[in-house]
Amino acid sequence: MSPITISFIRGTVITLALTIASIIFGIILALILAFMRMGKSKILNGFAWFYVWIFRGTPLFLQIVVINFVPPLIYLSVTGKPMPRSNGIMTAGYLPMLLTSGEFKSGIIALALNTGAYCCEIIRAGIESIDIGQHEAAKALGMSKFTAMSKVIIPQTMKRIIPPFSNEFTLILKDSSLVSTIGLTELARVSRQLSAGGKWSYLFVGAAIYLFLTTFSTFAFDKLEKYFGRYE
């Protein structure tokens, strides 16, 4: 394989790993936030609201930069020693080292925190869109709140939240290119580096790979939506 092909594969792997990992962590976070938003506790509700307010209201670009650069600085000023972390820029693109680098982790954390705020609202809207009669029917049959949620409400929510999730996945897939600002050579950065010196066609190769990935994910989410909506 030519070095160029290897570069593109490496970039694609980084982009996919970033996207999938951050979506998974983001959804877990979003579930917790959504139930905080819908719960009775005013403090938890307020916290979740504040969280969503911050992460939806500021640029992802800045969130990535802050999460990558601020903790080491705080660590340094508190302990007087530099924070131990492996540096992604110094690994010269060696994949296993890239995937364990501090920048990669910062990227995942930032993307997960950001998508968590959006997914929280998607999940909350999905759950709140279920007719009150479903809650009442479950309660009248004697189900606990937990059983009602897990057996009645959430399964009906799935079909409705898949399309906005698909949308969010596409956005994160593309916006993961913002982590190039902290030095991670993901797909967009690879394309840009290779295009240096007037070889602009590599930019289109990168774009084509993104397009392929988003098309594939949209298709997969469509299938998922059909599966969860098979009862209609």
């Binding site: 029917a137 004697g142 399964p155 009862y231």
Partner: protein
């Protein structure tokens, strides 16, 4: 033997006092029909019985056991979720808008609660559910999702779903009000069958024909009170209360 007894139930929504002190007693095997103009508190009363609405004050006895006792919005009796759940299991509820679980087939709608609450085994829940579906004449629709059923069929499944938990009392909240006229009969038929099997039933309804034929007692509610109560023949032929007469005149034209 009294299956349901309430004393002085009161319930307000904000400033609007919907129930102003409802006391009734329903004996085993009785069919009590609750009639009255909309806004009279009929549905709220029914929903208070199984705690879909929490009463402000009053007492509720189920099967001669004091289940709910509240004064001024405070519990004088344990109303933990567990306690409420055991209360709900004794009472089956049928809603105006069916509220079937759309993501479950007809038979799965019946199986869900017995399996998740009573921990009944799947095979057992299935055969039991099929039996009940047979009773309501829908065994051939067992595998259909609610979206594929007519309103009347959905309501029959909903009745069957409530029966699957083997309740001692069935509550019906205007069970035919959202049905096309030609589908009302099949649902009333199922309810009649239940009444004949001596199921204790409280039915909020606008179907005066059903009340006349099936009810052992009729309660006329108006403005949050029970205005009149008696045998259907009495109430329909010879209402004593002016408001009852007025209401029946309007509705029986």
């Amino acid at each position: 033997m009294s299956m349901v007894r309430t004393e002085n139930l009161k319930k307000s929504f904000g400033d609007n006092e919907v129930l102003k002190g409802i006391s009734i007693e329903v004996n085993k095997g009785e069919v009590l029909c609750v009639i009255g103009p909309s806004g009279s508190g009929k549905s709220t009363f029914l929903r208070c019985l199984n705690n879909l609405e929490t009463i402000d004050s009053g007492l509720i006895y189920i099967d001669d056991e004091l289940i709910v006792h509240r004064e001024d919005g405070k519990n004088l009796k344990d109303m933990s979720p567990k306690k409420v759940s055991t209360l709900c299991i004794k009472l089956g509820m049928v809603f105006q808008r069916f509220n079937l679980f759309p993501h479950k087939t007809a038979v799965e709608n019946l199986m869900l609660a017995p399996m998740s609450i009573k921990k009944v085994k799947k095979e057992e829940a299935y055969s039991k559910s099929m039996e009940i579906l047979k009773k309501v004449g829908l065994v051939d629709k067992a595998g259909s999702y609610p979206s594929k059923l007519s309103g009347g069929q959905q309501q029959r499944v909903a009745i069957a779903r409530a029966l699957a938990m083997e309740p001692e009392i069935m509550l019906f909240d205007e069970p035919t009000s959202s049905l096309d006229p030609e589908l009302v009969g099949e649902v009333l038929e199922v309810m009649k069958d239940l009444a004949q099997e001596m199921m204790t039933m409280i039915v909020v309804t606008h179907e005066m024909g059903f009340a006349k034929d099936v009810a052992s007692r009729v309660v006329f509610m108006d403005g949050g009170y029970i205005a009149e109560e008696g045998h259907p023949q009495e109430i329909f032929a010879n209402p004593k209360n002016d408001r009852t007469r007025e209401f029946l005149n309007r509705i029986l034209i």
